[in-house]
Point group: C2
Chain length 340, copies 2
Amino acid sequence: MNKKLDPSVTILDVAREAGVSYSTVSRVLSGYEFVKETTRQKVMEAVERLGYVANQQARSLAGGKSRVIGLLVPGLDNGYIGEIARGIDEELSRFEYDLLLYTTHRDKGKEASYSVRLAKGLADGLLLVVPFLTNTYTETLKAQNFPYVLIDQIDPAAQSSSVECTNWQGAYDLTRYLIELGHTRIGFITGLMGLRNAVDRLEGYRAALLDSGIPYIPELVQEGDYWKDGGYQAASKLLNLAKRPTAIFASNDLSAFGAMEAVRTHGLHIPNDISIVGFDDIPQASLVYPQLTTVRQPLDQMGRVGARLLIDQIEDPERPLRQVVLSTQLIVRDSCRSLK
Amino acid sequence: MNKKLDPSVTILDVAREAGVSYSTVSRVLSGYEFVKETTRQKVMEAVERLGYVANQQARSLAGGKSRVIGLLVPGLDNGYIGEIARGIDEELSRFEYDLLLYTTHRDKGKEASYSVRLAKGLADGLLLVVPFLTNTYTETLKAQNFPYVLIDQIDPAAQSSSVECTNWQGAYDLTRYLIELGHTRIGFITGLMGLRNAVDRLEGYRAALLDSGIPYIPELVQEGDYWKDGGYQAASKLLNLAKRPTAIFASNDLSAFGAMEAVRTHGLHIPNDISIVGFDDIPQASLVYPQLTTVRQPLDQMGRVGARLLIDQIEDPERPLRQVVLSTQLIVRDSCRSLK
DNA sequence: CCTGCTTTTGCAAACGCTTGCAAAATAGTT
DNA sequence: AACTATTTTGCAAGCGTTTGCAAAAGCAGG
């Protein structure tokens, strides 16, 4: 870094330095086609010499594009969001977009106001990773025809672009895996049943049982909330059953961690006394002991694809909406034991 | 939500609706003092009725303030950053600032260009959580007199505001704790020794040994890198020592996790055969088994304080630089055993 | 060397807001 | 009621770009 990058250098200074008009500079900078090569050269040199950097605010005021996209998440406090955000971030930076981060965890009602703020020029598009999607929310966006993409969430009316993964299939595969190990009494800890993915996972579990001719026993299904504590509570109930399960399927890794703790509290050992599986494959899943067998949601990829969908939509507003479904993958680690 | 929040409503529309001039509207909106109460009322009603939301870009172009602050982090992929970011986010939203997130993990060299971009109006200030701080970086910022705060990182020349915590003291306390449990052969896995906090932690460890009359044995100190794998490697070396340590102090939780794995690989049991401690208290520390005894860095608070420092500086540029040091706290969990 | 194209460039008008300055309205004094 | 001081308001300029439109430059053909 030899030259000082003075923020007060404007396009006018560059124009003067290069001996052309400011609009020519603007055109060079925005990659306009009809500029003579020698002129372009001169301008670029002047830019270089002056250390000019465009003022993004002015650009977007005038041009209507901000090259910023907003990311709305409930919070940063679980590995799950972090992974998605990572994918988004990577893709965005490939396309030179900046990322404005909004968390909604404090003010539930803020979402609507956020969306408008963003739409008012702050961002060119919005990525939503909000489990509880209120309708008013997407409606506002839709009404304004503002580009947005839903991640790990779908619009029942299919009126939005979205990325999710095969929750049903993942749960099915995982249950089948347990069955193949010889388990037949498989406890299930649900997610927040208000969420579609929680329902899908439960359905996958039921389907797998059904296909294997194993009866579905309601008392083996306990409601959780996708958090560690909920998993602990639910697992405790399962463990206190007269005839306790030989395996527990927790609807996400976090509740699996809770279940693991409950198992230990009961003086039992994983996987010898009981097998535990989770769902998501957040980074912590391989950090716990024993390492958790789970279903990998390609979180970072979901982020990447979501970002990509959004960018496509921003750059070509005519592009039809798309719903992408990514596939999950069974990750076998050490938390299950074969009964055979 | 009953009224449609039309993004094309401008201040002019509000002015017309309220029957005042647009500058009055502007003043009302920016909380200017000398506006008659009844006028303010009228304006607010018009805003309400029209669902007006200010265009942030225009505001900052005209006013020079964007109410956005930039956050520069290496990446989102470790719990550590996430916690800090959470604190920052909370504080920022209290003061109604938005958060622009930049990660540097892909392009090492990008930092300098980011800083200028941000300084050019995109953000009002910058929060840096970058372990390896290059000078050219802060120098650019300083030269432009652009507000910024360093988090978990200091400027050796004390020419920057910063927030960090008592790394030395934390390591000292933790080592003393192990000594009190009866450990005298305490292995140490360093952090990235290029970082000051890594050096401080090592120093704290040495000082505690010294104060307790325990000899410092170089072979008990193995170099790590603050990542899980590095911890695994370093711990393996310690475990292969002719006379292996009875406790291992890993310089951060992530490397402690690696060490735990190494211990298991060696067929040993924690804490019966060997005690392990970490540093940071990232959320995962209480998720692993056995739960990790560690030193809590008040990460979210560091974020909050950093954000606050920055906001203060933005709102009053005359404010002198400040270096804040937060205290660490020993968190005793289950990964250590008393030898007495 | 002029004519009629086509390629390049420049001017001016936005974009939506803030803010200095001056005019208008109101309040306070005699 | 007239006059001054003070509080409120409005006008206009400007923030740094982009972009439509028109003028200038190049270029080829005659």
